[in-house]
Symmetry: C2
Subunit: 259 residues, 2 copies
DNA sequence: TGTTATCTTTTATCCCGTAAAGAATTGTCC
DNA sequence: GGACAATTCTTTACGGGATAAAAGATAACA
């Protein structure tokens, strides 16, 4: 399910994100609020981190706070807005600047690693729609970091936008691959290898001529003779991620040189 | 919501995908089947194409076929398997080979365009989990095409895997951006420009110091002085897509040269 | 004519988001 | 003190989802 930004009252939504609600009058009638937007967002993030976006429900968040699900509606207009708030909150974990002392290349690598690990910490973020950015303060703050790095290449804003899209797509895609491959087997109680083994034996069963019918697929899954070039990095995403990242960096370099 | 492959009976699921069900005895007691897996999958694809994955429900597909939602369970074990079948079915639209006469570069471009347009025709495909590939015949057939092109570069299987992941992430990301930006406003009845205008005026309202607080974000959104280099392609994805694709191709070229 | 296997609907269970109404709490004003 | 109003939170209810279980309908066999 793709989750869109709250389409409710856009003004209220922005006010929540930017905390620009008029500071309430100190003294008011009625019971003291037992919750706050902050604790609700926090609890919701805990649920999503632990059980994934699909398992996030208003009732569950309410439970975690000793309330009913409906109680949340006093603080937050809808689930959509809550997700926007979760999203922006969690984005605060990302750096807003990167060291450019050694040039843009290592800075991009650092950005990519941080961002990948961020997505792996909060895989549900990958389910939040990216097109209509939530436009919260932390999203912009985080963008400051990447843009500063890419600006350093000397590329025009237009090209930087293109490269940014590419970088984000790459890191998000990689994160999705890793996080889903972590999640899926645990849901079934089957390890990743077991799953693949079972699956590939089923494949043989169902299509005995596999190698002949799909020669390319067979080739690409084969092991290279080429030895590992240096010790394999123990980073999440592994080899595929580094290969992709290097290709990307070389592509950017070409764009830079082409001026 | 990320949709996983049906974790039910994996064997039955594979049999459905590969149509390797034992051909039923011709004559059997009981009413003639009024439906078939094929018509169900077709109807489901129509629903998903028209209204998106979120709107896909068993009842709705049943309705479209003049049945209840429950009737589908005679043919398909669960919604998850149905989605797998939809996915593999629709993948048959993609080419399984590309012309390498002019070298791998234009072939990759052709692949990217075809694939982008494919995702735009069936945006719901982007919601189907990619990690645990559905492993249907058309998925493999489609892979034959890309791998053949990338093998032509002379890269090792390991590197081809890395480049493939990168290419798919890029095209999927671009498709997501385009398709969501098409979908979202129509859901609200607000055009894309209106939405952005409303949003950016709200931004000014909520953070008057925007440009000072986020100088990089402001810079990257600014117009280049640089004139368009040649006529803009009228392709979906537009400029951002071509820029990204060229960067990518240059990156691959660098990898090829580094041998 | 059963009997039996099959297709389909009905019914029911348990989830979801959230609207509406009411209960409980706590302040202000008289 | 009491009335009133504002606010928090719960209860109840609605429409929708996937799907299990049971019941109804249909068509071939003995």
């Amino acid at each position: 399910m793709v989750v869109f930004a709250g389409q409710g009252d856009a003004r209220r939504s922005m006010a929540l994100l930017w905390r620009s609600g008029e500071p309430d009058p100190e003294v008011r009638p009625g019971p003291k609020p037992g919750l706050s937007v902050d604790v609700i967002v926090e609890a919701a993030i805990e649920v999503a981190d632990a059980e994934g976006m699909a398992a996030l429900s208003m009732r569950k968040v309410g439970d975690r706070l000793g309330r009913t699900g409906m109680a949340l509606y006093t603080y937050v207009p809808s689930k959509g807005e809550l997700i926007d708030l979760m999203y922006d909150r969690v984005l605060a974990e990302l750096p807003t600047r990167y060291d450019l002392g050694a040039g843009w290349r290592p800075a991009v690598v650092s950005w990519a690693r941080h961002t990948l690990e961020f997505y792996l910490r909060h895989p549900w973020v990958l389910q939040v729609s990216q097109v209509r950015p939530v436009l919260g303060p932390n999203e912009f703050a985080m963008l400051e970091g990447v843009v500063a790095v890419l600006r350093d290449t000397g590329l025009t804003p237009r090209r930087v936008r293109g490269v940014m899209a590419l970088l984000f797509d790459f890191v998000r895609g990689a994160a999705k691959t890793v996080s889903e491959s972590r999640l899926a087997p645990s849901a079934t109680g089957v390890s990743d290898e077991e799953w693949w083994q079972a699956r590939s034996s089923l494949l043989k069963e169902v299509e005995p001529e596999f190698a002949a019918r799909f020669p390319m697929a067979s080739w690409v899954e084969s092991q290279d003779d080429e030895p590992d070039d240096g010790p394999d990095d123990a980073h999440p995403g592994g080899e595929t991620f580094s290969i992709g990242l290097n290709v990307l960096l070389d592509g950017i370099e070409a764009a830079v040189k082409a001026g």
